[in-house]
């Protein structure tokens, strides 16, 4: 019995795809831009077939409880609007009067969907396998430093602070969500340099303060107390002509400490569970015998109920390393078209060991538990899961009105 239940509750590695990529730097991302309004449309798509576990190993999504080959498909549309100017230009406010300011808003539309057997397995837990709609809104303002020149080198810095407003669509009964349901505050130092007018370097260090999420989704597999994160990113671009650029970048992020999970409820929707259900969820989907058919067929095994203990649980923190490569075409003086591929090169995902009570009657809990089992659970969504699959980014930047 104990073995049966253990295998029933081991499950699910669903992921989400959009936290870090919103800020991954591009060509001249942090250069001092001419005053004016800029609009940007970015499309990102990925098919997540692998994620990182807590040991940094790549594992196929859904393994071992569904066959490999299914995925979490995700697409994001980012609508960015950037204003650059100086509202203090005609004042005597020190520092600000001779340094341009900027503000940016980022709206997100998204789609995330578990496919095939992974989606079917999510439904066993009474949850929705995907989500569509509006994401959280990112708003930031900042100030440019002055531009400095040193021989062939030209460089500047900036400081900005971003606030993530949790207005996005969020369903506590969904395995994936477009919104996150928690606030985030991100102070950020960034710099831009040009060498010989050919090599463009952009980099940033950002610290991400995450608020709590008191309504976790997917049965508590998203963290309630989310760790803060630190982000370090660098991008190197080479200018072939006024129109053509290529770049390569590196992005690193890691949590400061662990994510905590205080409201674990994820469980099979239809109970009691029969021994055959256990076999259906293991042997038949895996194609190999994890438990014996004899045990599955044994009427003496009877039926049983499961219930998780809510926590608190903790993961080992998350980490992600990403390599990016892209090509740019500058159309006239007003638009930039860009294509980029991002490849994860290392990471660590959220994972923790949860305790389930096994009962012969309901309500199931520690008071009438006949035994307990430990289950290895993967955290889901952007605060807990780290994708090991590449993504593609297409981007259009347009200067609406020439300065």
């Amino acid at each position: 019995m104990r073995r049966l239940i253990l295998i029933c509750t081991l499950m699910l590695a669903c992921s989400a795809a959009h936290a870090a990529i919103v800020f991954t730097p591009h060509l001249s991302e942090y250069s001092i831009l001419p005053a004016g309004p800029y609009a940007e449309l970015t499309f990102i798509t990925t098919e997540i077939e692998e994620i990182y576990d807590r040991d940094g190993e790549e594992i196929e999504l859904g393994r071992p409880f569904v066959p490999a080959g299914d995925s979490t498909d995700a697409a994001l549309g980012l609508f960015k609007y950037l204003w650059v100017g100086n509202v203090f230009r005609d004042t005597n406010v020190p520092i600000l009067k001779d340094r341009n300011q900027f503000c940016r808003g980022i709206g997100v539309l998204g789609y995330q969907q578990n496919t095939g057997n992974i989606a079917a397995r999510v439904r066993l837990f009474g949850h929705r396998p995907g989500a569509n709609g509006i994401g959280d809104f990112f708003g930031l303002c900042g100030i440019y430093g002055k531009e400095h020149r040193w021989g062939p080198l030209k460089f500047n810095g900036l400081f900005a602070t971003t606030v993530k407003f949790p207005i996005g669509d969020y369903d506590t009964d969904a395995a994936l969500n477009i919104g996150t349901n928690y606030w985030t505050y991100i102070p950020q130092f960034a710099w831009h340099a040009e060498l010989w007018g050919r090599l463009y370097i952009d980099g940033t260090f950002a610290y991400q303060f995450n608020d709590n999420n008191d309504e976790p989704s997917f049965g508590g597999l998203t963290p309630t107390r989310i760790a803060n994160y630190r982000n370090l990113e660098m991008n190197f671009a080479w200018k072939f002509s006024e129109h053509w650029f290529v770049d390569i970048g590196y992005s690193y992020r890691e949590s400061v400490g662990s994510n905590h999970y205080d409201q674990l409820t994820v469980n099979f929707k239809d109970q009691p569970l029969s021994p055959q259900s256990a076999c259906d969820n293991t042997n038949n989907n895996l194609g190999l015998e994890v438990i014996s058919q004899e045990l599955c067929d044994n009427p003496a095994s009877d039926q049983f109920f499961l219930n998780p203990r809510p926590g608190p649980y903790s993961d080992n923190g998350i980490r992600g390393r990403l390599l990016t490569m892209g090509i740019y075409y500058v159309y006239r003086t007003s638009s930039v078209l860009q294509m980029r591929v991002a490849q994860p090169v290392g990471g660590r995902g959220g994972q923790f060991t949860a305790t389930y009570d096994v009962c012969l009657s309901q309500p199931c809990g520690p008071d009438n538990s006949v035994s307990t089992v430990d289950a290895e659970l993967f955290a889901v969504q952007e605060a807990g899961a780290v994708s090991a699959s590449p993504y593609l980014e297409l981007r259009l930047v347009h200067l609406f009105w020439a300065p």
């Binding site: 549309g77 969907q113 095939g116 259900s277 039926q303 609406f400 020439a402």
Partner: protein
């Protein structure tokens, strides 16, 4: 040497604005079908064009699988079910030259277009189906639990790109061609709100690709004839809504549209149009429940049998009229009436499995199953074809041609 063109005269500007954009994109029926707009395949002078439209459809009648008009959106359920829906559609189209300094054959000499279309939809379920959704008495024994009435919100996003194969090579001199050919292709991004437990939603959760070949002609003064054919292919919906009664795999669509517009004099244009879409067979799996299940035998309950089900495809023909008027040189206001003349919805036979005793765990000792009755069920989402008239009010705006970049509006001498 590059010099700026002389300003457009009023007629030329009206023409440019008339031919603005947004021939509305072909889409699944749960999202309103397109209504052909005049001059939609005409090459425009480079610039950006915005469009805003509000559409209202009562959706209280539909076509069944045999092509008969029925007084309900869901004819297999007694009574009249309605799915009233209002859409707000916004589009931005950018006509532009590309690589004109590179002298790339064809690409450098013609014009191209990029388009993005956003949508918001307010929809709901009324009538007997709404009562079925609200009734939670069967939630414990069937999969029809936690159902929801609607999935209003933002709609899917459509992006398109295309090139004029003929008739746009004189764009610098503004010498319009009486004949033009446009090829465009696009992608529907399923970002729209999609409630997996509701029969109607703003979004579709189904990515799709389409290609269109259109011809524009001006056979006599003040006339605009546009004819197009298109094909749309759908990717799999990994999470079909409302218990799997929306298609998991939607059949490809092929459509044909034609419009004839005539300037009535001054600023008014009258358009007559026809649209014909044919959709291949849709597939459904897994189907988890139906609103009209068969009665189970005594001491039993039942559920839909596992399988992949198919309908006979869908069809829709519409015709309509549109009146457009130009307010100033930048605004175009329009009123459009679209009337369905024929159609077919998706319906299919759904066999049930009986389970004895009720609620037992299949596979457990003492839980027996047997073949049950078969019911004829309505398909939802893109498989529903409605028989109701639709009214559209639209406004279009031409953003300034005061070029955002220095070269457009110039001609080479």
């Amino acid at each position: 040497m590059l010099t700026r063109n002389r300003p457009l005269d009023a007629a030329a500007l009206v023409l440019a604005v008339v031919s603005l954009l947004v021939a509305q994109l072909a889409a699944a029926q749960d999202v309103p079908e397109p209504s052909p707009r005049f001059a939609r395949y005409m090459p425009l002078y480079p610039g950006q064009y915005g469009d805003l439209a509000v559409q209202r459809d009562t959706r209280d009648s539909s076509f069944d699988a045999a092509g008969n008009e029925r007084d309900s959106a869901v004819p297999t359920l007694p009574g009249q079910t309605k799915f009233p829906r209002t859409d707000v559609v916004a589009g931005l189209t950018w006509h532009l030259p590309l690589f004109e300094d590179y002298d790339i054959p064809f690409i450098s000499s013609t014009t191209h277009l990029l388009r993005v279309q956003l949508r918001y939809a307010d929809t709901r379920t009324e009538g007997p189906l709404a009562a079925f959704i609200a009734d939670d008495s069967d939630d414990a024994s069937t999969n029809a639990d936690d159902l929801r009435n609607e999935g209003s919100g933002i709609g899917d996003v459509t992006v398109e790109g295309g090139s004029f194969l003929y008739g746009a090579d004189n764009w610098r001199t503004r010498q319009g061609s009486p004949l033009a050919v446009l090829f465009k292709a696009g992608l529907r991004l399923n970002f729209g709100s999609y409630d997996r437990d509701a029969p109607t939603s703003a979004g579709t959760n189904t990515p799709a690709f389409h290609a269109v070949l259109g011809v524009h002609a001006q056979p006599w003064k003040g006339s605009f004839v546009d004819v197009g054919i298109g094909r749309r292919a759908y990717l799999k919906n990994q999470d079909p809504a409302f218990g799997g009664l929306t298609p998991t795999q939607q059949g490809d669509d092929t459509w044909f549209d034609v419009s004839l517009a005539q300037q009535l004099g001054g600023r008014f244009f009258l358009t007559a149009f026809y649209y014909d879409r044919s959709g291949d067979s849709n597939q459904y799996t897994p189907v988890l429940f139906a609103p009209n299940p068969p009665e189970p035998p005594p001491n039993s309950d039942n559920f839909p049998s596992t399988g992949i089900y198919s309908d006979g495809g869908t069809e829709l023909q519409t015709m309509g009229l549109a009146l457009d008027v130009f307010a100033g040189q930048r605004w175009q206001l329009g009123l459009q009436w679209t009337h369905p003349t024929a159609g077919r919805s998706g319906q299919f036979d759904l066999p049930y499995t009986n389970r004895t005793p009720p609620g037992c765990t299949v596979g457990a000792t003492g839980c027996m199953t047997s073949d049950g009755e078969t019911v004829f069920v309505d398909a939802y989402g893109p498989a529903r074809v409605f028989a109701t008239d639709r009214f559209t009010v639209s406004a279009r705006f031409q953003f300034g041609e005061g070029d955002t970049f220095t070269c457009v509006g110039c001609e080479r001498r």
